[in-house]
């Protein structure tokens, strides 16, 4: 991996609210993050966590209260940076009086493409997103999924080095989600950097080299999905069979499916548990390490954040 495609330093966004805008709501707090060149980076967090705020700050759709950011080595205030960046907004909406071909042609003109280059590229993109037969239909007649495809097409139209996608799978059916996933993987194969935000954790786990978890406007962890979940306390799972009645206290903690039981125990207690079960006449079928999922890691962070917010509220009273 080379230089960072995205670097943020203490990036902060506060929104004024209340009477005379005197109060400030924190949307993003001191974000320090790097997205490396050539990687797929997932930005995950619950709704309102600050994912879209971060992306809008990077795209200069909103302005930071404090901090700075660089994209492909250029400060985000440099308009030239946008030549190498593709962006798909969340729930994209485009000029509905245009057809998909006209919209892509319009954006291609904005990117200073030549007339011949535009025509070819627009057709290529429509084909890539599966809209080659719908290119002449006005966007007001498009479904949500089709608009998302147009959104993907306009994001990669100018062959950018970095593609930033805000909730690209949101609102799509399983087929659409699969197609977007494939497109993201294609971009990586072409050597592009992809950053996308999502709250669908399985997508992030499946696609990302690294993820950043953001909760309550703060970045709570960055790393490979496997690395992040390894940070959580691990346990062991024993699968065993037991026929007839038994009074082993451990059984109360096990999950039963027919004659089979699953029991999770902390690693140091593993051998003691096995001995107890064997003494009770159980047949041990397998012992495996329990790997926490990204979802569990994520939910722990969300719950910790909620507990902290509740504590602040109580102490505030």
């Amino acid at each position: 991996m080379g230089a960072a495609a995205i670097e943020t330093e203490n990036l902060t966004k506060l929104y004024p609210h209340g009477f005379l805008n005197l109060k400030k709501r924190i949307s993003l707090e001191g974000l320090n993050m790097q997205v490396e060149t050539g990687e797929i980076f997932g930005f995950i967090g619950p709704n309102g966590a600050g994912k879209s705020t971060t992306i809008k700050l990077l795209m200069r759709l909103i302005f930071p209260t404090a901090g700075s950011a660089r994209i492909l080595g250029k400060p985000i205030s440099d308009i030239e940076m946008h030549r190498d960046v593709g962006y798909l907004p969340e729930q994209p909406y485009f000029y509905d009086y245009l057809t998909a071909t006209e919209l892509l042609d319009y954006f291609a003109r904005i990117h200073d493409m030549t007339a011949a280059g535009r025509k070819e590229r627009v057709q290529q993109m429509l084909k890539k997103v599966g809209l080659e037969t719908a290119g002449k239909i006005q966007l007001r007649k498009y479904s949500k999924g089709m608009l998302q495809r147009v959104g993907m097409a306009q994001a990669i139209l100018h062959d950018p080095q970095l593609v930033i996608l805000d909730e690209p799978m949101s609102g799509l059916d399983p087929v659409g989600r699969r197609e977007v996933r494939d497109m993201i993987l294609d971009l990586k194969r072409e050597g592009k950097t992809v950053m996308f935000s999502t709250h669908i954790l399985s997508d992030a786990e499946m696609l990302c080299d690294r993820v950043g978890v953001i909760v309550g406007g703060k970045l709570r962890g960055v790393g490979a999905p496997a690395q992040l979940v390894d940070m959580k306390a691990q346990g062991m799972e024993i699968l065993f069979e037991l026929t007839g009645q038994s009074t082993v206290p451990l059984l109360a903690k096990a999950t039963r499916t027919g004659d089979r039981y699953r029991l999770q125990v902390p690693e140091p207690d593993l051998y003691g548990a096995i001995e107890q079960l064997r003494a009770a006449g159980a047949t041990i079928l397998s012992v495996s390490q329990v790997r926490a999922t990204l979802e569990e890691f994520f939910m722990d962070l969300v719950e910790a954040d909620r507990a902290q917010a509740a504590a602040v509220e109580v102490s505030g009273k």
Partner: protein, 258 residues
């Protein structure tokens, strides 16, 4: 600057597809009806009636487009979030704003020019022998277009920092007050306190003088318009639009989108 043109042409296309130019049909009907009725009820003053009615209709229809579509130029893009994908491309905010302005004044140019031709044809219908002064009607239409450009600039400025409804009210308010800028300037100052006198004087120069663009009486009587006056009004509109658009750019460049 090339991107300003791209945005402007797209804005023009939007207006055409949203059937903004359909108002031309309404204008054509008004002109046909006026020509027929004027020929029957007004002996000797057909030209005056038709020129006055036609220019008023061009001005009114243009004002409705300039205010309502002018206010929506930016606010609609922000509400519908069509702006997001565009501003994430190498487009400066001032380029976007100027493009939107350019697109609407292009629409208004096509609209007023077509209506101007319609009005001229109606005049030809009631007055078969033309004289040189009859061309004043085209100058009057050009002045209406200049006035509309100024209204669009104001609508754009207000829509950059307030709600669409308030922007419509502010623009319409400034337009109405601007019609009386000359009267404000000539107000008898002895009836007011010195503070009010100074304020009124400043206001009268600060407000756009829309009455300057009204040469309906000259057009109705086929009186020629001096070239210097045309130049003066053109420069006035250009400078005023530049100042207002600079303000709009300053506000919009710092604006956080939703």
């Amino acid at each position: 600057m090339k991107r300003v043109g791209v945005v402007a042409l797209n804005t023009f296309r939007e207006a055409v597809r949203d059937r903004v130019l359909y108002n031309l049909l309404f204008f054509a009907l008004v002109m046909m009806a006026a020509s027929i009725i004027a020929g029957q009820i007004s002996i000797g003053i057909e030209q005056t009636v038709i020129a006055t009615l036609g220019l008023s209709a061009i001005s009114l229809l243009g004002l409705l487009i300039a205010i309502f579509i002018g206010v929506g130029l930016v606010s609609k893009e922000m509400d519908k979030r069509t702006l997001y994908a565009l501003l994430a491309k190498p487009v400066r905010r001032w380029e976007f704003l100027l493009g939107k302005f350019g697109g609407l004044i292009l629409t208004l140019a096509v609209n007023t020019a077509a209506m101007g031709v319609g009005l001229f044809l109606a005049l030809v219908y009631v007055k078969p022998t033309l004289e040189r002064g009859d061309a004043t009607v085209f100058v009057a239409v050009y002045f209406i277009w200049l006035k509309l450009a100024l209204v669009v600039a104001l609508a754009l400025l207000f829509s950059c920092f307030t709600t669409p409804l308030l922007a419509i009210l502010f623009t319409a308010g400034i337009y109405i007050v601007g019609l009386y800028a000359q009267e404000l300037r000539n107000m008898p100052m002895q009836v007011m306190s010195p503070g009010m006198t100074a304020l009124t004087k400043w206001l009268s120069y600060l407000l756009p003088n829309f009455e300057n663009f009204n040469i309906m009486a000259l057009a109705a009587h086929s009186r020629p318009v001096p070239g210097a006056f045309i130049l003066q009004n053109t420069l006035y509109a250009a400078v005023y639009c530049t100042i207002v658009l600079t303000g709009a750019v300053l506000v919009f460049s710092r604006r956080n989108l939703k």
